[in-house]
Amino acid sequence: MPLLERVSRAIDQHGLIPKLVRQLPRFTMLLAILGVSWLFVLPLHGQYRITYISENALMPSQAYSFFRESEWNIVRGYREEVVRAFEEQDMTGKNELMTTWLDNIGYKVATHEINSNESVVYGIFHAPRGDDTEAMVLVAPWFTFDGEQNAGGVALTIALARYFYRMSIWSKNIIVVFPKNGQLSLRSWVEAYHTSLDKTAGSIESAVVLEYPSDADHLDYIELNYAGVNGQLPNLDLVNCAVFISEHEGFKVSLQQTPKGQLWARDYGSRLTVLLKSIFELSMTGLLKGGGNGCEAFSGWNIQAISLRAKKGADSHDITTFGRVVEAIFRSVNNLLEKFHQSFFFYLMLAPRNFVSIGTYLPSAVLISVGYALASLSAILTNNNRNNDLSQTLRLRSPNIDPIPLCVGFAIFFLIFTISTIFGVSMMYVAERYPYDNDNVDGYRKLTFTVIFSGVFFSFYASLAPSLSLSKETDDHKKFKAQVVRTLNALALFFLTVVLIGLLVVHFALSFTIGVCALPLAFISYGPQSSQSRAKLINSALLLISCPWSTILAAGVLSSVGFDLDMVRNIAQNFHLGTAREIVSALHFPSSLDYAEWQYLLDGPTEIFVGLISAYKHFQSWTWLAICYGWFTTWLCLWAISISDVTYGEEITELEAKPAK
C-alpha cells in the first residue's frame, strides 16, 4: 500500500493524468491493434492447443464398422432409384418414394407439412429396449446448400437407415430426415419437432447432415461444418469425434471450405486462414445461401449438430467409407450416458486437430471493447471537441456537464435509438411480408442499394453540410450545444461498448467483427462547421468506412467474386511460383461493361442484406438486431455529432472564466 501511495503521489506531482487523458484516443487505437494482433498470435506454436476427446464414453472408432462389403451393393441399389427419382419425380413423388422405402425397412414414417406445397418426410427407429427418451438425427437434404442434387447423400442415408435398423446396439432412437433443403425446410422441421409434431422420439442429442451431390462410387475428402447461429457451436467433443473418425477412416478433413491443395499444410499461414475464415463464417451464420450449412437449422434447442459434405475428386475412398464415418459417429454418441457437456462449447478451430478455447481468444475482443470504453471516456473528457487545443495537456479542471444538456443528450440518443429501431423493425417486416423469390428479387436489390447509398450519402453529407449555425448565438447557447454533443458522443460510444461486451462471450465473432469494423467511429470529432474542412473530410471518411452498409457492400462483393482468404495465403506463400496471376484470374470479375455481367456482383450485397433482415424470422439470429440497435444507432449518433456546429471550447472558456492565480 505505501508503494501505491508513493506511485499515486508521483503521478499527481508530475501531472500525468491530464497528459494521459489527452492520449486516450491513442490508447483506443493501441488496444484495437493489440486486440487484432492477439488473434494473429493465436496460430503461433504454443498458443493453440491440440484437440482431445474429453468425454471418455465417446470412444470414437473403437468398434469395428461393418458398413462395407455387400452394403455397397445396397447403396448402389438405392442410388440408382434416387437418381431416377431426381429425373422423373417432383418433391411429392420423391417424398412418397421415401415413405415407402422407410416403411419397408421398419421405420415409423411421418410427414411434416410445412405448407400446402412442401413437406418433409422423416422416419423414427425406436431403439429396441431403449427408454425412448433421446434421439440422434441423420439428415439428408434432397438438395445441397449449393442447390445441387444430393443423390449420394440421400442414397447413403437410406442405406445407413436400413443398416442401423438391423443392429441391436442402440440405446437412443434414430431419426432420419429428408427435407428439401438443409436450410429453411430443415429448420421448419426442427421447430415443428419441438412444438407440434405428433410423432416424436425424445430429446435430440446430436444431428449429422450428410451431403454428397454426386452419383459416383468414390469420394476424396470431407468438409466439416459446425457453425450454428448466434455463436452457438456444437460441443467440441462431437467435432473432435467427427475429425478423429474421418481421419481414422483415411479421409482428409477440411474446415471452413479449405481447398484440397491446402489440406496438407500445417503452418502458421494455414492456421491463421482457418481462424480468420471461421470468425467471418461465425459472424455470418444464418445469413448466406438461405441459411448456411444445415447446422444452423438445429441451433437453439441444445442440439449438437455438424454437417459432413463429401467432396468428389481422386478416387481414393469408396462411399461406404463415408458411411462408416457416420456409423462410427452414431455409435460414439450412442455410447453417451450424459449429454454432451464435458468439452468446450466456445472455441475457434485452427486446423482439424488444433483449437483455441474461449479463455485464450476472448481477450482479443475484450481489448477492443475496452478501447471503445476509453473512447467514450475520452469523449466525455472533451477530447473530441476541436475547439479545444488538443495538442496541449488537458487543462480543464472539472469536466462537468450541466443537468439540462445531459438530459437533452440522453433524449437525442433515445430518439436516434428509436429511429434505428423503427428502421430495423420495418426492414424485418419487409422480409416477413415479401419472400425473397424471383418476383421480389429486383425490389430487394433496389432496397439494398438504396440503403447502401443512403449510407454513402450521409457520410459525405457530413463534410459537405452547410453551416447551420445561428448568426446570433449567445455563449450560453454555444455552451449548451457543446455539452449536448459531448454527452451524445460519449453515450453513443458507451452504448456500443455495452453491446459489444454483452455479445462478447456468447458470440465472439460478431462482437469482434463489429468492434473492428466500427472502430473509426471512436475517432470522430466535432467542431465549427464553418472551417476545418480537412477534419470534416476525415470525419466523412471515417463514417463511410465504419458504416454497417459499407461492410455489407464489401462483404457482398467479395463473396460474389468468389474471394477466398486461401487465395491470399496462396499468393503470399507461393509468390515466387507466380501463382498470383493464376489465382486472381480465378476470381469472377466482370469482363465487360455489360449490365448482366455486373448484376451478380450486385447480388452479393443483396443476398447478405436479405439474409440479415430475414435471419431473425427464420433462425432467430440476433445479428440484424446487434447491427441495427448497436452499430447503426451509434453510427447515426456519430453522424449527428459530425454535422453539428460546435463553436464552444470548454477549456478556453473555463480558463478565461477562472484566470490563473
Binding site: 451393393n73 429396441p128 429396449r129 427408454d131 427418451t133 410423432k199 449429454k339
Partner: protein, 604 residues
C-alpha cells in the same frame, strides 16, 4: 433333534414328489405371432397361498404358504398391504403394428419400475410409514432401487389404478384403505431383475414354461414387461388368501433373434444371400433390397436357446402352451422327445405339456404378416416435451381416437417431480376434427368441458410431494385431442443432483386408463418417459466460487481496514506530519550522525 427334523423334512419332500400332490398353481404360455416377423410370448403364472388371518398377530395357519413365496407373507402382513402391484418394463410398445397390449395393458408398466399398493392403516401418516417399509423390503427382494421411494415421489391415485380384489369389494376393513403409487423411470431392467421373478415360482425355472426364461433372450427382445400382482381374495365367509399372478411378456423380432443366435458378430450379409428386388437393376455389384422374408420357419429352441423342460408336476392343472395363429397361413407343431424319439403333433390351439419329456414348438408360415386379427388400442397417445430454455418448458400430450363412431373416456394420470412447477392456467386443449380443422380452448374456457370432464390436482410441495394430476377426458370419435401446458423448472440444491446429473431427469410415464361403459378401467397404457434437462452446475464450480469469494473478501477487508485505521490528509499535512514521526526523527538523527562523521573524516 435337528437331524431328526431335517430327516422329517426330507421325508416330507419325498412324499410330496411320490404322491404327486398338486398345489394351487397354474402356468400358461401364449405365443402370438405379430406382423413384421415379431412374436409375442406371454408367460402367465398364478398361485394362491393358504388361508390367512387378516387381523391376527399370533402365528397361525398363515405361517405355512405352500407354493406361495415365503418371502412375501410376512412383508404383506406387517405392512397390511392388501394389494400389491409391481411392474418392470422396458422398450417401446409399437401399437401401430402390434395392436393393443397383452391383457389390455393391465399388466404392462411404463419404462422402468412401477409399484402401487393398497394399504390398510389408521391414517395417512401410518399408511406412508407402512409403504416405506414395504418398498424397502421389496428393494432387496427384487434387486431394484425401491428404497429410493419416499414421500416426494409417492402419489395417491384417485381415479386410476383402482383396487379390484375381492377383499376390496367384500370386506369391511377395520381401518382406512390407502392406495399409494410410485414409479422409478430411471431404473434399468436387467437380468438381475428376472432372477427374483423366477425364484418365486415353485419350479424355479427348472421345469415348466419358466425353463424358457433365460435372461439373455428375455432382454434381447424388442419390448419386455414383467409384472406381479398380489391380491387378497376373500370368499363370502370372509376367509381370505393371497393370490399372486405373475406375467412376463416379451416381443421378439424373430429374424433378429435368429441372426443374433447364428451370427453373433453383425457381419454384412454375404452378397449371394442378399434379397434383391428383381424388378430393378440387380447384379453382383448392385442390389435394391426387398423387405423382410415372409415365408418363415422357426422354433422356440432357436429363439430361447432351449426347449421347454417338461410340464410342471405340482401344478393344479397341466402346463399349457397356446399358439394364436391364423391357421390359413401358419402351421404349429409340438415336438416332444429328442433324436429318434422325436414326435411331431399338430397344435390347433393349446397343448398341454408332458411332464416327463422336453417339448419344442415349431412354427412355419408362408405369409408371416398374416396373423390373427389384432385388437387396436382404443386411443393412441404420445407425449413430448416442448420449449427450449433452461428455466421453463412444457408438455404436449396427444390423444388420437381411432374409432369413427365411439367417444372414448379416459383418465390421464400424471405425476411430476416437485422441481417441475406446472401452471394449470396455461393448459389448453386443441381438438383436431376428422376434417383436420382445429379448435383450441383454454382451460378457463367453459367450452373446454366438452373434452375435459374432471380435474383432480394436488400441487407439489418442495421436497415433500410431487404434482399429482388426474384428468378425466372424453376424446370425441375420430378426433385427436392435444393437451398443452407449461411449467417452470426449480433450482436444485447442490447435493440433490443424482449421479450423472448431465443425463437429465426422467419424468414418470403418464398412465392412461380407458374407462368402459360401466365405469371400470378397460385398457391401460403408459406414455414414454421424458427426459428433462435442468440447469446443471459444473460441479467443480463451488471451489472456484470459494476461491473467488475469498479473494474478494480479503481485498475488501484490506481496503476497509485501511479506511478504519488511516486518516486522509493533504500533501502538506502529510509532509508536516512526517516530520514528527519517530521514523523520520531516527532517519534525521542518522543523517546528522552521518554528516558529523563526514565532517570528522573531512577534518581528518
Amino acid at each position: 433333534m435337528l437331524l431328526q427334523s431335517i430327516w422329517t423334512l426330507v421325508l416330507l419332500a419325498c412324499s410330496v414328489d411320490a404322491t404327486a400332490n398338486t398345489y394351487p398353481f397354474k402356468e400358461r404360455l401364449d405365443l402370438t405371432p405379430l406382423p413384421r416377423n415379431n412374436l409375442l410370448a406371454s408367460f402367465n403364472f398364478e398361485l394362491d397361498s393358504n388361508d390367512i388371518q387378516l387381523y391376527s398377530d399370533g402365528d397361525s395357519i398363515s405361517t405355512h404358504y405352500t407354493v406361495f413365496p415365503r418371502s412375501f407373507g410376512p412383508i404383506l402382513k406387517t405392512t397390511r398391504a392388501r394389494e400389491l402391484h409391481l411392474r418392470f418394463s422396458q422398450g417401446w410398445w409399437d401399437s401401430e403394428v402390434w395392436g393393443s397390449l397383452p391383457r389390455n395393458g393391465s399388466t404392462a408398466g411404463g419404462t422402468g419400475v412401477e409399484i402401487w399398493s393398497l394399504i390398510e392403516a389408521d391414517d395417512k401418516a401410518q399408511a406412508l410409514e407402512s409403504w416405506v417399509k414395504l418398498v424397502n423390503s421389496l428393494s432387496g427382494l427384487f434387486c431394484a432401487s425401491f428404497n429410493f421411494i419416499d414421500e416426494s415421489i409417492t402419489t395417491y391415485p384417485v381415479k386410476t389404478l383402482q383396487p379390484y380384489s375381492s377383499f376390496y369389494q367384500k370386506v369391511q376393513p377395520e381401518k382406512q384403505l390407502y392406495l399409494l403409487r410410485s414409479a422409478l423411470p430411471r431404473e434399468p431392467i436387467c437380468t438381475e431383475n428376472l432372477t427374483p421373478f423366477i425364484k418365486i415360482l415353485p419350479a424355479k425355472g427348472k421345469a415348466g414354461i419358466s425353463s424358457l426364461l433365460n435372461g439373455h433372450k428375455v432382454f434381447n427382445s424388442q419390448w419386455s414387461s414383467m409384472s406381479i400382482d398380489i391380491l387378497t381374495e376373500c370368499d363370502d365367509s370372509l376367509i381370505c388368501n393371497y393370490n399372486l399372478k405373475q406375467a412376463i411378456d416379451v416381443v421378439l423380432n424373430v429374424p433378429k433373434t435368429i441372426d443374433r443366435a447364428l451370427n453373433p458378430i453383425p457381419k454384412p450379409t454375404p452378397g449371394e444371400e442378399l434379397r434383391c428386388d428383381q424388378s430393378k437393376t440387380h447384379n453382383v455389384f448392385q442390389c435394391f433390397p426387398l423387405g423382410e422374408k415372409t415365408d418363415m420357419s422357426w422354433d422356440l429352441k432357436t429363439l430361447f436357446g432351449t426347449t421347454i423342460n417338461g410340464g410342471s408336476s405340482i401344478s393344479s392343472e397341466p402346463s399349457k402352451v397356446c399358439a394364436h395363429v391364423n391357421h390359413e397361413h401358419w402351421k404349429v407343431y409340438a415336438v416332444t422327445g429328442t433324436g429318434d424319439d422325436e414326435k411331431f403333433t399338430v397344435v390347433d390351439d393349446c397343448a398341454d405339456l408332458d411332464v416327463k419329456s422336453t417339448t419344442n414348438f415349431l412354427f412355419s408360415t408362408d405369409e408371416s404378416n398374416n396373423v390373427v386379427a389384432l385388437n387396436k388400442p382404443p386411443v393412441m397417445t404420445s407425449r413430448s416435451l416442448t420449449g427450449h430454455s433452461q428455466d421453463s418448458g412444457g408438455f404436449r400430450t396427444d390423444f388420437a381416437n381411432i374409432s369413427e363412431d365411439k367417444d372414448v373416456d379416459l383418465v390421464f394420470f400424471e405425476t411430476l417431480p416437485w422441481f417441475v412447477r406446472i401452471f394449470l392456467h396455461t393448459m389448453d386443449i386443441t381438438i383436431t376434427k376428422p376434417d383436420k380443422s382445429t379448435v383450441t380452448y383454454s382451460i378457463s374456457d367453459p367450452l373446454s368441458e366438452t373434452v375435459l370432464k374432471q380435474i383432480y390436482y394436488s400441487p407439489a410441495v418442495d421436497r415433500k410431494a410431487p404434482t399429482h394430476l388426474e384428468l378425466l377426458l372424453r376424446i370425441p370419435a375420430g378426433c385427436s385431442v392435444t393437451l398443452n401446458y407449461q411449467f417452470d423448472k426449480s433450482m436444485l440444491l447442490y447435493a440433490e443432483y443424482p449421479p450423472d446429473a448431465n443425463h437429465g431427469f426422467e419424468i414418470d410415464p403418464a398412465v392412461i386408463s380407458v374407462i368402459g361403459e360401466e365405469g371400470n378401467e378397460i385398457y391401460h397404457f403408459r406414455t414414454t418417459t421424458s427426459l428433462l434437462t435442468l440447469p446443471t452446475p459444473d460441479f467443480s464450480m463451488p471451489y472456484n466460487v470459494i476461491i473467488l469469494t475469498s479473494t474478494v473478501m480479503s481485498l475488501a477487508f484490506g481496503g476497509i481496514f485501511n479506511l478504519l485505521v488511516k486518516r486522509v490528509v493533504t500533501q502538506e499535512q502529510a509532509d508536516s506530519l512526517a516530520k514528527v514521526s519517530p521514523l523520520y526523527r531516527v532517519s534525521e538523527k542518522l543523517g546528522r550522525v552521518r554528516t558529523r562523521i563526514r565532517q570528522l573524516l573531512g577534518r581528518a
